[in-house]
Symmetry: C3
């Protein structure tokens, strides 16, 4: 029946709008220190995988966030672009480009990110099943001009300069470099 098809297409467009808002709200709630709000964006079995490796389960993810946020002053997480692929009626994956400005006290940092996301609709709402945050760079804002042209672009406090997650590790980058 035609209506069923139209209905399904409208649903997908609504899903895209909801997933766009999920991404927008994630940064805002984090920046506002609304940790209960952030927790509700994740499924119970969610995984967050960033600088310290994968944290599994909503409780562990939230503990990770609290550990980070406790050392931070102002933060500003903002997404740039978002692509979405549906893998089932209530399942999708996405890629988000973003920056985060983080006052890791006493030093302001800036991070360029690509999130690899998995989403699931649960209790009528799209949530993160997993977020993997790949870093193009993470550096003190004041040192950015010195850091960007090299490959050791991860400069977290108290660590040795380390290679960025992307793009140099990607097969397409490596194939291009060899050509």
């Amino acid at each position: 029946m035609v209506d069923d098809d139209l209905q399904a297409r409208i649903r997908r467009l609504e899903d895209r709008a909801e997933l766009g808002e999920l991404i927008a709200v994630y940064g805002r709630l984090l920046d506002d220190r609304d940790v209960d709000g952030v927790a509700a964006l994740y499924t119970e079995d969610a995984v967050f995988d960033s600088t310290e490796g994968p944290m599994t389960g909503r409780a562990a993810v939230m503990e990770y966030y609290r550990g980070q946020l406790d050392r931070y002053g102002m933060t500003y997480h903002y997404p740039h672009s978002h692509t979405i692929e549906f893998t089932g009626p209530d399942d999708a994956t996405g890629v988000v480009s973003a920056h985060a400005e983080l006052a890791i006290l006493p030093t302001p940092f800036v991070v360029a990110l690509r999130y690899l996301d998995v989403y699931r609709r649960e209790q009528g709402r799209w949530r993160f099943v997993s977020r993997r945050a790949l870093q193009l760079y993470a550096a003190p804002l004041a040192e950015l001009p010195d850091v960007l042209a090299g490959t050791l672009r991860r400069r977290w406090p108290g660590t040795e300069p380390a290679p960025a997650d992307i793009p140099e590790s990607l097969p397409t980058w490596q194939a291009y470099s060899r050509s």
Copy 2:
């Protein structure tokens, strides 16, 4: 009837697209000094509330913009994320995260913003009923690394350093800090 429901859902999706373009066009017209174009984005009774307090009525809003723009060289206003809530058939609210780069002659400034918006469809087109611009920071670009880790992040020319509008003032931030 089914079609009425589908029709309404499609309308909402179209409304979202239009509201997204309203936000995009706002920055572009302002940066291009198309002040008539900017004026048409506001309703007659609109309010713009930024650094100098609320300006009420489209004419007052435009006078405020002209007063600011007259002191500026190049500006670049760009939005990041946008969430929308419909409050009636022709009414909505929204939250926009953004940055603005402003050459407040002779000094380039950068401002991190969260707009709290009210929209109304008037004469067939979505417009701003009000925009409230909350600042996470406003500082000379060259001083940003020194400003971001503190709380006095409003550094407008000719004023004393002042606290940023957000996030420290938010109930969620304050509850988190106490915990």
Copy 3:
């Protein structure tokens, strides 16, 4: 028939989503050095018009990209806002605001951009028929605070400082300056 109209409106919303992804994917593929992926985003007869004038035909466009990318380290292209106007069932134009961070070895540059785009649906997929990249500025990241307040905001390596493409050249800017 009502369904035809609804169908067409849904199609337009889907087109908007696809065009949004085209813009997102463009930056990502370029940053990943997936040059075959980038090539597939363009029509055979496409034009790319940036710092070195218009390149005509997909092959010439790709040769231009390769010439640029060969001198670059990490790049990060990210879009901010996107407006779309449909000019036919399979034709549209768009305006995109964006930044690009480019490690033009050995110096990191930052570019503020407005893309004027033409899109066409070909073989069932939206592609670029032309992209014209207008620069608000292009400067070494370290020099940005000194560059933004002037008009000579194009500072490409090995060239004399030159006027930016926009906004000073725009009729609206010039009319405002005279008023």
